[in-house]
């Protein structure tokens, strides 16, 4: 692990593009990794058990904690009455009179909302005591669905708002009215995406220790960022940033976006430690995760496309209604706003209108789930494009190709302000056809249909953005307010990396990322090893964040596929800087110019005079132990480099609501062949292929494993996953037994292809990757199933398309003996 490599000569790029076995796996396969619940806790740590509302909507009349507090070992039983003395509401991204606390105050607004916290010497004691807390609830009328929430006279989730609509806005780009007037045809679709989640194996956890001496609250938590939300927590806890330390361990047991929503619990557990003065540990149970963590929004979308006689996409109109649960917590209304930049996907559509309405209901609040809001967008958009092809009599791939942004158009600015970096979508589609064997698959389908089987084929494409430019959330703020001189616009999405060579020559890289299985340590080690001419094993990479010790920013963390573009760029830039520093120091010691220095196999020497050389170990030693030497004195030769990488295009939102929400924009095309079981409506995936444009990958083994997971998750979502509740807002599927999760018995092996077009915005051309299948997967499956059910003229309008839905909507009529002609249109 030194700059002096033990191995033979290595030159730059050796490890770039290599499926190098992951360094993380050495501890993960041997039980030596340390996840949050495995960390040692401070002396005197108490354990928190959260008592949650059993009602979706109820007035909290009285909380009797007397019996609970008497249980030996109980330190405190805390409710809003106590905790509001040390806590303010968590700030929201949208302007609203709603006050969002991590614990119910006078009312519980969803089943699972925290109502009281028992703090005790052990978790078992806390659980015993929690059963003795008596809460007097007065149940109120519940609105658990969008339709009910919007109905006239509906009960209100928040009286202060006056209705259940918390935000409403129309964004217009180009001349949509004209586009629709000129249209030869207008085609529309409706899709409902039900609330769902992608639950990780490891649940949420927080350990909070308030230290009176330093007046610092330290929290160990499996929070993934963005650290804007750590700022939000500090604000709620009335702490200045220098008094709030967040430590995220280097091992996190999956997230898929969910662990962003650890932040309300950082506020809650932090408040408990501040109030009681003892360290407090909380580890979420699986059932708590289902009722109290987070979910994706429920969305109703109505999309309309204006088409020319030739099939050109003239304009797109969208009416979006999102149910975001009981509180519009940050980063909502991101489900919609995050996608505004790339709303038109890979298509050239210059006239666009998006009307968004955000609705609160008595259900679990939402936050980003893998590919934040883009399954919600890609599914209806691709269904619409497929329908346009059918109606105009075009081949769906040809229609897409006709409307694609072309290679010569890049960098391409979308109608809504997105700046796409690079791409060749036509070439990617050709690759997809090849790896999927489209002609073969079509022939196979015809063959199977002749046997009377319900088989079909679907193709969907999409844009895979990487990085989150905070500017998109400013679209939630009224333009008049953004015009004021006092308004502080937001922008940026930078990633940092610190590279240090220690006095003994060991190389250490510190990232500001919180990986949850993405192999950042390996990728960073491959990059640094390539630049500095050592082996990946010679580079120690530290991930996770410690806000007191890491160069972090409000964008820090691991979300929005940001490592592939900006993270890699930050590490690579830091490594290049380090190489330069080493060359400069060597040039002084050897008395030659820095340009003349070459580094190979742990030795720096002069190109022109190869006998002038110094081992990197001696060089590093000299810099540390003899900086006063004649050659080095007066110069800055510290062997520590911090590089923060940002992309220039990540500017603030404009007053006409244009914004570039991401740094790079990859492309994905997915093809799927399916069979629907006539008797049960269940769907089998016969074949699945995706082509990704990741701009090229540093470690293709890691990219592929992530995409294998994404594709399987996509099918889990599309065919099975939804959070179900009854009319009283009671969640019904809150275990891994009731909520569908795939097992080793029903996975499929996707076929992958690469159609990399290097990004001009990143030094190695890389983009983000691995969320794409989560959006195109469900869209391709929907189109394939509609194709399989062509004789029923099936219009699939609800996600997930479960066997039950498919059977009852389409196939059951067949069972009743209706003729094929009379079952042309489902209900």
């Amino acid at each position: 692990m030194t700059v002096q490599s033990s191995q033979e000569k290595r030159t730059e790029q050796t490890y770039v593009g290599v499926a190098y076995p992951r360094l993380e796996d050495l501890r993960l396969t041997t039980g030596k990794a340390k996840f949050l619940d495995d960390l040692s806790v401070p002396p005197g740590t108490h354990y928190a058990v959260i008592l949650r509302s059993p009602y979706a909507h109820a007035k909290i009349k009285r909380i009797d904690t007397e019996d609970a507090i008497k249980v030996p070992g109980v330190r405190a039983v805390l409710t809003a009455a106590e905790l509001l003395s040390v806590m303010d509401p968590l700030p929201l991204a949208l302007r609203s009179p709603i006050r969002y606390y991590p614990i119910a105050t006078d009312r519980a607004r969803y089943a699972g909302e925290p109502v009281a916290v028992v703090i005790a010497r052990s978790r078992a004691i806390a659980e015993d005591a929690a059963s003795k807390v008596n809460v007097d609830y007065e149940p109120l009328q519940v609105v658990a669905d969008i339709e009910k929430a919007l109905a006239q006279g509906a009960p209100k989730v928040h009286e202060a708002v006056g209705s259940n609509t918390v935000w409403k806005k129309t964004f217009s780009y180009g001349d949509v009215g004209n586009a629709f007037e000129q249209a030869a045809k207008v085609v529309s679709v409706d899709v409902r995406v039900n609330g769902y989640t992608v639950p990780p194996m490891e649940t949420f956890g927080v350990v909070a220790e308030y230290d009176k001496g330093s007046d610092v609250l330290t929290e160990w938590c499996n929070f993934i960022g963005p650290f804007t939300l750590a700022y939000v927590v500090a604000k709620a806890l009335r702490l200045s940033q220098d008094r709030f330390r967040v430590i995220v361990p280097g091992d996190i047991g999956g997230s898929f976006g969910t662990k962003l929503a650890v932040y309300p619990y950082m506020a809650l557990v932090g408040a408990c430690s501040i109030f009681t003065g003892v360290p407090v540990k909380w580890i979420e149970t699986r059932m708590e995760h289902f009722v109290g963590s987070t979910r994706a929004a429920t969305r109703l979308s109505h999309l309309e496309m204006a088409l020319s006689a030739d099939g050109d996409f003239l304009g797109l109109k969208a009416r979006i209604t999102d149910d975001i649960g009981a509180y519009p917590r940050s980063p909502e209304p991101g489900h919609l706003l995050k996608s505004v930049s790339n709303f038109t996907g890979p298509y050239k559509i210059s006239n666009l209108e998006i009307s968004g309405e955000y609705v609160t209901t008595n259900t679990l609040p939402t936050s980003p789930i893998r590919a934040f809001g883009r399954p919600h967008l890609c599914i209806p958009l691709e269904k619409l494009v497929d329908k346009c092809a059918k109606i105009t009599g075009n081949d769906p791939l040809e229609l897409r190709r006709r409307n694609f942004i072309q290679p010569r158009d890049f960098p391409y600015t979308t109608a809504s302000g997105g700046v796409y970096d690079s791409g060749d979508y036509g070439a990617a589609i050709e690759k997809l056809k090849k790896i999927f064997d489209l002609d073969g698959a079509r022939a196979d389908i015809l063959e199977k249909r002749r046997e009377g089987r319900l088989v079909g084929l679907g193709i969907a494409v999409g844009i895979e953005p990487s990085v989150s430019n905070m500017a998109y959330l400013d679209l939630a703020i009224p333009e008049e307010e953004r015009q004021k001189a006092t308004f502080m616009p937001h922008s940026g999405g930078q990633h940092s990396a610190t590279l240090k060579i220690e006095p003994d020559g060991h190389i250490v890289v510190r990232l500001d990322s919180c990986p949850q299985g993405q192999g950042h340590e390996t990728v960073a080690a491959q990059l640094v090893a390539s630049v500095l001419g050592v082996n990946p094993e010679d580079v120690r990479v530290l991930t996770g964040v410690d806000t007191f010790n890491v160069s972090w920013s409000i964008s820090s963390g691991t979300y929005a596929s940001r490592f592939g573009s900006l993270g890699i760029s930050a590490v690579y830039s830091a490594a290049l800087d380090m190489r330069k520093k080493l060359a400069e120091a060597a040039s002084k010691l050897l008395g030659v110019s820095a340009d003349d220095i070459v580094m190979e196999n742990g030795v720096l020497f002069s190109k022109s005079r190869r006998d002038l050389k110094i081992s990197s170990k001696r060089l590093v030693g000299t810099v540390y132990w003899n900086p006063g030497s004649d050659a080095l004195k007066g110069g800055d030769h510290t062997l520590s480099v911090t590089r923060t990488f940002n992309v220039e295009t990540l500017g603030p939102a404009t007053l006409d609501n244009k914004v570039n929400a991401s740094a790079t924009y990859g492309f994905i095309g997915t093809a799927a062949a399916v069979e629907v079981d006539r008797d049960t409506g269940s769907v089998s995936i016969l074949k699945y292929a995706s082509v990704h444009d990741s701009g090229g990958s540093i470690n293709p083994g890691i990219v592929e494993q992530l995409c294998v997971g994404a594709a399987n998750q996509a099918a889990s979502h599309a065919l099975h996953q939804e959070l179900i509740h009854d009319d009283s807002g009671q969640p019904l599927n809150i275990t891994f037994g009731d909520y569908y999760v795939r097992t080793a018995e029903d996975f499929f092996t996707p076929i992958f292809g690469s159609a990399a077009k290097k990004s001009p915005f990143t030094p190695l051309g890389t983009k983000g990757v691995s969320e794409g299948d989560n959006m195109t997967g469900p869209a391709a499956l929907l189109i394939a199933i509609q194709d399989a059910l062509y004789e029923y003229n099936a219009d699939i309008d609800t996600v997930p398309f479960t066997a039950e839905r498919i059977w009852s909507r389409f196939l059951s009529k067949n069972n009743l003996g209706e003729s094929a002609s009379s079952r042309s249109r489902p209900a």
């Binding site: 076995p21 992951r22 041997t30 039980g31 639950p199 194996m201």
Partner: protein
């Protein structure tokens, strides 16, 4: 009520007095300090807590510590020997079968029990043996392949009369 128990974990004897209600997984993690075994649910569905007890794969969240009295337990920490990593561990790394790694210990334990009972499983046998283990990264294709490959490595080593061990710092793919 408290009871005294004696358990052997990875060949080492543990004697303690524990509460009746203490789950075996909590004993392994909190008392024995072996945190490689994880808890991913509280209903026995996820299998992150799978261990090998008296030769069988068992979910340690579904039994009490006191029920393991006199048992011989194996956890992920006991897989590697002084001579190196277990072929399953090597194969999981080689085949990119680990993402977040939270489910990995439980899956390795199920695979270990499988290969002892059926040293030459086909992919269907492997899938069946893993029904009780959830991987939420959904990396199943790589996991099944890794187990299949490990079984072949173990068989080849056995045929040659060698101990099938990888190096602790296995570098090559």
């Amino acid at each position: 009520m408290n009871r005294s128990i004696n358990i052997k974990i990875n060949g080492k004897s543990y004697s303690d007095v524990v509460e009746d209600r203490l789950l075996l997984v909590n004993y392994i993690r909190d008392v024995a300090g072996l945190t490689g075994t994880h808890m991913g649910c509280d209903t026995g569905h996820c299998g992150a807590c799978t261990i090998v007890m008296n030769g069988e794969a068992v979910k340690s969240c579904l039994i009490l510590a006191v029920q393991a009295e006199g048992a011989s337990v194996e956890t992920v920490e006991g897989m590697a020997s002084e001579t190196g990593l277990h072929p399953l561990q090597v194969s999981f790394r080689k085949n990119f079968a680990v993402q977040c790694g939270f489910c990995t210990a439980g899956i390795l334990m199920s695979a270990l029990a499988l290969l002892r009972n059926n040293p030459e499983p086909n992919s269907e046998d492997i899938s069946k043996a893993l029904t009780g283990n959830i991987c939420r990264c959904e990396g199943y294709p790589n996991i099944v392949k890794a187990i299949e490959e490990a079984s072949l490595v173990m068989k080849a080593a056995k045929d040659l009369g060698r101990e099938p061990r990888g190096k602790e710092n296995e570098k090559e793919g």
